[in-house]
Symmetry: C2
DNA sequence: GGGGTGTTAGTAAGTACTTACTTTTGGAAT
DNA sequence: ATTCCAAAAGTAAGTACTTACTAACACCCC
């Protein structure tokens, strides 16, 4: 809880953990990092500049030397984060953000499986990477949610740069597999993408937002198990199980149906 | 935008739309309603008592006559709303909240289909009712999200009273259908519930939070189409498609990810 | 000594909440 | 019916504190 007390008085040790003198760029980055954390915890309105300053171990005025307004600080976060997507661990670092989007990350992790048409590996890999990212950096989900609720740009930018292209990317993969006859052709690929990502993201959201305590969880499964289960449901759901045509789900089943088939 | 100006001065028309004199109970209810809307729009911290008063057409002091603190106002909302669940349209009204939970609503809408084992009707009905509720009352989703992010009770109460029991309810239905041989027996029913509700809720969340403009939507389908598609994927995914054993999804084709246990 | 990092001590506009007061109302007692 | 009055519904103008943001000055290292 104790928030790295502000060194405050002039008599303070000049080299204390929080208040050491930094170069402008370092301080700026540190403020962005700290602010991001607080915005994620309390939202834009909820996180005060005073708290941010304290957490960074400097006086409030320093913040306004680096960022003209609180809003500027927020948009600085966007520049730092928005291109990251769910890559989270690839190019998150300092140097140059030359556009590492979520899709790039996905392509990197499951590109080969995609080329080979190994659907299970593709979807399981994506689910796993997403969940791992959410678990490693739960702040990011909160930041994004707050941003969407509060109507900040971050949400929109993230949406356009990552979610949209992700849908197109996955959608076109599914479409290709439909053409190849590996998947059924009678459904909208984007609906499948939504169902799948919905399950994955909702699962992460549950675990990081509501059901934090693993002991009390409604559904306490490892990321691997969840990824495998979601993938299996999806793939069975969209492949052309020969039986599907007659029995399963599409035509409204008559009263007793579906229990008939004996393997 | 214009917020029904507060009548203000004593000279104001006593019967004006916003500022008419009300009985205590009526005013109290009105304040709760207005506050709920504003909390949903801006969050607890973001909605000021002044704004709430203005929107209600009274002076700020009136609010504190009815509610000792702003927090009290929030918990009053909980008493009003929390039992409603996704029923939204069943027992939302005044009189007595004798416990209309989400599960009661579900039982009402798809209970017969459940008894008859019409899985498609069950899941499609649930999905549709949920999405319709979200669409009719998008504020509720926002309220809930803000509540979870800001750490208010509402989220926890809603979770315990509605989400938890919903998982148990749907989970036990699936378990029954597994015993009856209608659904495969080799998956955790709760995982299926999560995948399904995840798809549905994520879909609503997308439409009410990020992708508001229908014209620009990534995925612009009617609630009916979405419900049908999600249901089809799920049911094909968890029924025993005879083909599944040999073909597509189950045996791990990939070298990549963990292939350890085989049941 | 000058540019950059830091500070303290402000300010004006909110913020939740209070105080002291006025108006309206419903229902007896007259 | 009128009068009277207490309770209820309302108000303006505070209070004490926080908020984002600023101004003026101190330290430090090339």
């Amino acid at each position: 809880m104790s928030r790295q007390a502000e060194t405050g008085r002039g008599a303070a040790p000049p080299n204390a953990a929080g208040g050491a003198r930094m170069t402008g760029d370092d301080r700026r980055r540190q403020i962005v990092r700290v602010a991001m954390q607080l915005f994620a915890e309390r939202g834009f309105r909820g996180a005060t500049t005073k708290e941010i300053a304290q957490a960074a171990g400097v006086s409030e005025a320093i913040i306004f030397r680096h960022f003209a307004t609180k809003d500027d600080l927020y948009t600085a976060i966007i520049d730092d984060k928005s291109c990251e997507g769910l890559g989270g661990g690839l190019g998150r670092a300092e140097g140059g953000h030359e556009g590492h989007t979520a899709v790039d990350a996905v392509r990197h992790w499951v590109g080969e499986a995609m080329e080979r048409g190994e659907d299970a590996a593709v979807f399981e890999g994506i689910a796993l990477k997403m969940m791992e990212h959410h678990q490693r950096d739960p702040q990011f989900l909160r930041l994004l949610l707050y941003s969407a609720l509060e109507g900040h740009q971050l949400a929109q930018i993230f949406w356009d740069r990552n979610v949209r292209v992700m849908y197109e990317f996955l959608g076109s993969y599914i479409r290709r597999r439909q053409r190849e006859g590996a998947l059924r052709g009678d459904f909208d690929p984007l609906v499948a993408v939504r169902a799948f990502t919905g399950a994955v993201i909702h699962h992460s959201l549950n675990n990081t937002l509501w059901d934090k305590d693993p002991a009390r969880r409604i559904l306490n499964v490892s990321n691997e198990e969840a990824a495998r289960a979601f993938t299996e449901i999806l793939l069975r759901g969209i492949t052309d199980g020969p039986a599907a045509a007659q029995g399963g789900a599409k035509p409204r089943p008559a009263p007793g149906v579906q229990r008939g088939k004996k393997k």
